[in-house]
């Protein structure tokens, strides 16, 4: 799905060659500052590489319209953003930005259940705790049904139980719908338990790529 050829981004990232398979769960692991977030931001063109080229489904990413690409490859940043308004507004805003049709409350409630958020759709989103905001932001991107979902440390504000439930749900959902999930995480445990491929990064370079046979 993604193929990187001699990609450099300033002096932060330097990847000679890397392939990320389609319809799989891929985890990018490494310490903070290893270049995981930069790599994800390159995939949905929040930034562009300073050298080399990234190919998405064999098309050079530099030639693909950024907006179209981001509507297909949605990214959830590590610090989730909550927009002014209710939980409903926050769930629907992704569909609004990507100009997709709105959906009914029933589906919104299902999503809240999926991300373990026991709240009313009418509640003011600003009042949620850090972990709840993160789950709401996660629900928002799941609702958009992207072909590729990029998650940057999706469980950083979650306790271990919630983390396990949500990641399991996400991975299940991705596999069932034939989508791709790329997760940047510092947790080797998550990577080991849920991914098909693990990419290990250090100082902006890929130091190891391994496929997990049993998924």
């Amino acid at each position: 799905m993604f193929r990187l050829e001699r990609v450099k981004y300033r002096d932060i990232l330097d990847i000679h060659a890397l392939t990320i398979p389609k319809d799989k769960v891929t985890c990018v692991v490494g310490e903070s500052g290893s270049g995981k977030t930069t790599l994800l931001r390159l995939f949905n063109k929040m930034i562009s590489c300073t050298e080399g080229e990234i190919y998405y489904n064999n098309n050079a990413i530099s030639a693909i319209d950024s907006i179209e690409l981001r509507r297909e490859i949605v990214m959830l940043p590590q610090t989730p953003t909550i927009f002014t308004g209710t939980i409903r507004d926050n769930l629907l805003i992704g569909l609004k930005f990507s100009e997709k049709p709105s959906i009914n409350d029933e589906r919104l409630t299902e999503i809240l259940k999926m991300v373990s958020l026991k709240k009313s759709l009418e509640e003011n989103a600003e009042n949620l705790s850090g972990g709840e905001k993160q789950r709401l932001a996660l629900g928002r991107v799941i609702l958009m049904g992207p072909t590729v979902l990029l998650l940057d440390e999706p469980s950083s504000s979650l306790d271990e139980d919630t983390e396990r439930i949500i990641i399991e749900q996400l991975v299940h959902c991705t596999r069932q719908n034939g989508k791709s999930l790329i997760m940047a995480t510092h947790s080797k445990k998550i990577a080991q338990n849920y991914s098909d491929t693990i990419i290990e990064m250090k100082n902006g370079k890929v130091v190891d790529t391994r496929r997990i046979v049993d998924g």
Partner: protein, 259 residues
């Protein structure tokens, strides 16, 4: 109509007592503003005397090129003043947008005012063209200064909100809509507020000047209403042009933020 009271030099000099009172107060309270007060009083006096002589020359030598030149110089000073007044750092692209919005917005409003509202003949009569141009340019300058500050601060302070919206597939226009609207609103609000108090809380400068120089209050008010509406139009048009093109300077052609 009563004869206009011509101020004698000593009468004008007596008015400087107000500056003396101000100087006395700041010295008494230990506020370090004496230098600025003296410099600004001298500047105001010299600038107005100079402007007076320039206007006499322009009025006596009514000429379209001289009139346009005078308004052009006002535009240059206004744009320069905006760059100086705005405390945030401005990119070269944004400076160009500010200058173009000022020139386009005020010129369109001024031409509409001259040709349609007062139907001036000849159209370049400096007695009307220059003071009206000055009022439109001055007020648009204040409006756009507020708009620039609000837009730049909004873009910088809410960078994470814009980035999140972009990550969700928003165009740069959608992602910055809230900030653009807020910049426009804060830029035109003082003009709207000044309409509310006009005639009750204060008599605007132009009208006061006309009345003092012997014009009937009714005529002065007619002109003031027309000029005020012209100012609203000019400020709105200038700021609208600025925010509509200004926000684009924060993004590159790949819809990436370049702050």
């Amino acid at each position: 109509m009563d004869k206009v009271i011509d101020l004698q030099i000593w009468q004008l000099a007596a008015a400087y007592i107000f500056v003396g009172i101000l100087l006395f107060i700041v010295r008494l309270r230990g506020i370090p503003r004496e230098k600025e007060i003296i410099i600004s009083s001298i500047r105001m006096t010299l600038q107005l005397i100079l402007t007076g002589y320039i206007l006499i020359y322009l009025f006596d030598n009514s000429n379209p090129f001289l009139t346009i030149l005078a308004v052009g110089i006002m535009e240059i000073f206004a744009v320069h003043n905006i760059f100086k007044r705005v405390k945030v750092k401005l990119s070269n692209k944004l400076k160009i947008i500010i200058a173009l919005s000022m020139v386009a917005g005020t010129t369109l409003s001024l031409l509409f005012f001259i040709f349609v509202v007062i139907n001036l003949s000849p159209w370049y009569d400096p007695r009307y063209f220059i003071p009206i141009g000055g009022m439109l340019i001055g007020n648009s300058m204040t409006g756009i200064s507020l708009g620039v500050s609000r837009l730049v601060e909004g873009m910088t302070d809410q960078k994470h909100l814009i980035e999140s919206a972009l990550m969700l597939g928003a165009t740069s226009k959608m992602a910055s809509k809230g900030i653009v609207d807020s910049a426009f609103d804060s830029a035109i609000l003082p003009t709207i507020n000044s309409m509310v108090g006009m005639g009750i809380v204060f008599l605007p400068g132009m009208m006061t000047g006309q009345i003092l120089s012997g014009t009937s209050p009714v005529t002065a008010i007619e002109y003031q209403i027309a000029v005020m509406l012209g100012i609203v139009g000019s400020v709105a048009l200038t700021v609208m042009l600025f925010v509509q093109f200004g926000y684009k300077t924060f993004f590159n052609e790949q819809h990436q933020l370049n702050i």
